[in-house]
Symmetry: C2
């Protein structure tokens, strides 16, 4: 048994079980291990234990693979945010904090994918599925913000505050990944910061 098989654990014989899914998983693994630039089709194939021609049975080209991997990651992020939001009743300040924490946790768990999701310029601009999940995330934050402020989710104040929240949490996520300019923030301080954010109740104007 080669170590390639042990890593991805499949490939019974000729026909793969789910090569598409396994390739996307290989991409994720590579991006996390080697960094956002450390991904190539060849490497992913090696990881999945197939020839370099195999992916073209499931994807049109390199962009398609990366886009699909990003879409999956976005769905993971949305799922995490949803779970966090659902764990607290509307209006509970802890709900805002939990939502933010889920975002930060995702960035810490998958820094490579997170960077690609928000730092890519390559060729994933016009992808309706991607913008769909993006919109869903945005809506979720706006709903939590609206509940928090006691206004509908599409109230301008809720939208504005949701955006400000997002900025804050997004920036914190990036700075923690980089640790180039910023100090590492210990978990307690991070939690306290997010709790404070949840306690701010802007007055709707």
């Amino acid at each position: 048994m080669s170590d390639t098989k042990s890593l991805v654990q499949a490939k019974k014989n000729y026909h793969h079980g789910d090569l598409r899914g396994q390739l996307l998983e290989a991409v994720r693994e590579l991006v996390e291990r080697e960094g956002p630039d450390g991904f190539s089709i060849a490497e992913a194939c090696r990881l999945a234990g197939v020839s370099t021609a195999a992916p073209y049975k499931h994807f049109t080209d390199r962009h398609d693979i990366l886009r699909s991997a990003v879409l999956l990651a976005m769905e993971r992020l949305y799922a995490a945010m949803k779970i966090a939001a659902d764990a607290h009743p509307p209006g509970d300040p802890a709900r805002v904090a939990a939502l933010g924490q889920s975002y930060v946790d995702f960035a810490k768990a998958e820094p490579g994918m997170f960077r690609i999701m928000f730092g890519m310029t390559e060729g994933q601009e016009d992808c309706p599925e991607l913008s769909g999940v993006g919109e869903a995330c945005k809506l979720l934050v706006e709903q939590v913000a609206g509940d928090h402020m006691g206004v509908p989710h599409d109230h301008p104040s809720a939208v504005a505050w949701a955006y400000a929240l997002w900025c804050f949490v997004h920036g914190h996520s990036f700075l923690q990944m980089d640790d180039k300019l910023a100090q590492k923030v210990p978990p307690e301080q991070e939690a306290r910061m997010l709790r404070m954010v949840g306690e701010v109740i802007p007055t709707p104007s």
Copy 2:
């Protein structure tokens, strides 16, 4: 006159005036035009109008070039932040807003370099000069925060609030560059948001 020359405007004959500087400028140009990944030594040489071997008289390798370009960009960022901070008296809420605005403006003016500065994982970890400028930026924000709150720059509350400020502005910068998840924020709203941040005066604990 080739368009290469017209772009970078130099190379009198054999000896270049300042090839080092011109290569770094070419990198900046390429990164802004083609995106963070669209940089190669070969392309930069083409832009500067020299052979692909020339850079090795000034840099040790690819990493060295990129690191030098990032360092220059960091110094531009610091200079912009310093000017913004110096334009207002200590304690003036407008000073905080101006500092934030300078940061956002830089990200908008040089999105490619900004992404590389804060998104690179390649090989610029152990660069004392880089961390030096990074520290200087951080100190500047902490000083502005301390002045704003009426405490010394190294007071824990100033440090914490400076970090929070940075998160917010950094996140906003990234979200505006991406415009994947977030709407484009019009300049007036951006200015209002930064002004509001400047009006928050956290009580030091």
